[in-house]
């Protein structure tokens, strides 16, 4: 069914957060902490980064004041929503020795429901990609499933492209097209709200609003168009699957390996990277607890089999990450693993730029 957009003011936005909270959601949204915009619990509009923007480039992220009071006048920060759906650290189970040998108890899943407030289009695509990985294969990740079910998604159509953004060339933004309950487009002091689901439409109906006019809709379209035109980066994604897999011995891998520190930052900030490792911790009572944490294909141990690592060189590890993200991901899950959010470029301490690496392998 089709839904009708409305326009809400700041009071409407406050009412939205309040309604979600009142409906039992744990509302998470952007907020300023440690000189960055991160995702955390928000209680109201006051927690949002009003009047802030960010300056992003390879290896560079700075918050700056805007001339206005825009609430969403920045691009994505170091956090991705995966930290809530696919937590960085997760208890899996506990084993206690007993007369029978041992008793294992699986950790309980949280019973809270999340509302993600301020999800960008690239992030909606990232969530859809992780849905494929964790929910749509032969095996389902029960932890992801427990967190993902019932999430309420409030998207924001970006009004500002970051210096490392390239969603326009990945066809993942900047305008949210699917996978949300409500999508906002920010105008000074008010927002166009488009429902994307029955739940979204029902919630919107409870907010103070006015019907959107053709002019409002045109204005929102112009916002997205302007953002699309001001992307900080561009990636020619056509044929990148074959390009990379046909060039596994390209000399550029040596070049990038000479710069790459193998720190794994790119994998931690990437909204689609999903690799994890488990570790067991024994306590003094004799019990063992297994935890799962994010892992990174940049660590030497990642590919360890008896006798040694399969990918001992930074060259092979960078190649693994990039070919997985842009090529083998398609073979595995029928989609690219890259959404063009630019986080891996911004948060790389030496500013390695995936779009530039693709260009170099193309020979441009």
């Amino acid at each position: 069914m089709s839904y009708h957009p409305s326009v809400i003011g700041l009071d409407g936005l406050a009412a939205l957060i309040e309604a979600l909270s009142g409906d039992g959601f744990r509302v998470l949204g952007p907020t300023v902490r440690d000189d960055a915009i991160v995702y955390d619990d928000i209680a109201g509009v006051d927690d949002l980064p009003a009047g802030w923007t960010d300056e992003q480039d390879g290896g560079r992220y700075r918050l700056k004041r805007r001339d206005d009071k825009a609430l969403f006048g920045y691009a994505v920060g170091p956090h991705a929503w995966k930290r809530f759906l696919h937590p960085p650290l997760l208890r899996l189970w506990r084993a206690e020795p007993d007369a029978a040998g041992m008793t294992l108890t699986a950790a309980a899943e949280p019973d809270e429901r999340f509302a993600f407030f301020g999800v960008r289009s690239c992030e909606l695509h990232a969530i859809a990609i992780q849905d494929k990985v964790f929910l749509q294969g032969p095996y389902v990740d029960p932890h992801y499933k427990a967190r993902r079910e019932g999430v309420f998604l409030v998207a924001v159509n970006c009004g500002t492209a970051g210096g490392t953004c390239f969603c326009a060339s990945m066809n993942t933004g900047p305008k949210a097209t699917a996978g949300f309950d409500l999508a906002l487009t920010e105008f000074p002091g008010e927002f166009l709200v488009e429902p994307g689901s029955d739940a979204g439409a029902a919630l919107l109906a409870r907010l103070p609003q006015r019907a959107a006019t053709a002019a409002d809709i045109e204005r929102a379209r112009a916002v997205s168009e302007r953002t699309a035109a001001s992307m900080g980066r561009h990636m020619q994604a056509d044929g990148v699957h074959d390009l990379l897999l046909d060039n596994l011995e390209h000399k550029r891998w040596d070049d990038v390996a000479a710069r790459c520190l193998s720190c794994g930052n790119c994998t931690q900030v990437c909204p689609t990277c999903f690799c994890t490792a488990v570790s067991d911790v024994n306590d003094l009572s004799g019990a063992t607890e297994r935890t799962r944490r994010w892992d990174s294909c940049f660590s030497v141990d990642f590919s360890y089999i008896h006798g040694g690592s399969v990918r001992p060189s930074p060259r092979s590890r960078y190649r693994q990450w990039m070919t997985h993200k842009l090529a083998s991901w398609e073979d595995q899950f029928g989609t690219s693993g890259c959404v063009g959010c630019g986080r891996c470029i911004t948060w790389c301490p030496v500013g390695i730029d995936i779009t530039e690496e693709v260009r170099a392998i193309r020979g441009e």
């Binding site: 040998g101 294992l104 095996y139 092979s316 595995q332």
Partner: protein
């Protein structure tokens, strides 16, 4: 994905550093699997490792694992005695394609502990002996003291309906058997090469050598079944460690038809 407790009913010291466990589930439930699949075996408080299942799948009350002590976990497991309890998750992975090779001569090519993932398949082939043509096992070890499952090999060798070609890398003078690489044992096999199906369980470099040898004799690469080994942790394709290019060894493998993964063998550090 919580491990299920199993008790070690019996420990067999196969050769130094290699041991076989016979396991019984604490709840008495049979463990149903197909040859070629693997389990994640967990020692309480120590760690978890992937191990192929080596038993006879028609005896689901006993789960059989053969383990080589090569790392901290497998060395710790070597200290366990009958009566100890370990955790099992599984079975995982794609099994050997036994139904796809009905009617053909079968040749098994492996060495030392590589016999462990093939043993269950050979048992099943012998249960269904009339479904197949000739059955030849080519097995190589370092020396005459490193021969695993020796009782099985003697039993198999004594049968009139299969051949066992054993080879060792070196032996003391006076040894009457074959000495050399497994390749020599392959060449000695008498099967219908243009239609035979081969099962190769060796490390990657040696798999390629075996495949080349088989190809030279007329076994096309779509009739060669191999296993791949990678770091497997979750065993359900979600943790990412066992990827090689497009494939997750834990869920798409560990058994592959060689021609479908041949390119992966030639890329270094992939």
């Amino acid at each position: 994905m919580v491990p299920v407790p199993f008790r070690i009913a019996k420990v067999i010291r196969e050769i130094p550093g290699v041991y076989t466990w016979h396991l019984k589930s604490l709840d008495g439930k049979p463990f149903v699997y197909r040859p070629g699949q693997f389990n994640m075996v967990y020692q309480f408080g120590v760690g978890e490792i992937p191990v192929s299942i080596s038993g006879d799948c028609r005896e689901p009350d006993t789960l059989v694992h053969t383990i080589r002590a090569v790392g901290p976990v497998t060395n710790a497991m070597q200290q366990l005695r009958a009566g100890a309890v370990v955790g099992i998750r599984g079975p995982f992975g794609r099994p050997w394609p036994i139904d796809e090779v009905v009617g053909s001569d079968l040749i098994f090519v492996t060495s030392t502990i590589g016999l462990a993932p093939l043993r269950g398949l050979i048992h099943e082939v012998l249960h269904r002996r009339e479904d197949f043509g000739k059955v030849v096992v080519c097995y190589g070890t370092r020396g005459i003291d490193d021969i695993m499952y020796e009782a099985d090999l003697h039993r198999w060798r004594a049968r009139f309906d299969m051949h066992v070609h054993l080879t060792v890398h070196s032996a003391p003078s006076g040894y009457r058997g074959r000495v050399g690489g497994v390749v020599a044992a392959i060449r000695a096999a008498q099967v219908d090469w243009p239609s035979a199906q081969a099962f190769v369980c060796r490390s990657e470099t040696l798999t390629r050598q075996a495949v080349d040898t088989l190809a030279g004799l007329g076994v096309t690469k779509d009739r060669v079944w191999v296993t791949l080994e990678r770091n497997m942790q979750c065993a359900i394709g979600l943790c990412g460690h066992c990827q090689i290019g497009p494939t997750f060894v834990c869920k798409d493998g560990p058994v592959y038809r060689y021609d479908q993964i041949e390119p992966l063998y030639s890329v270094r550090e992939f």
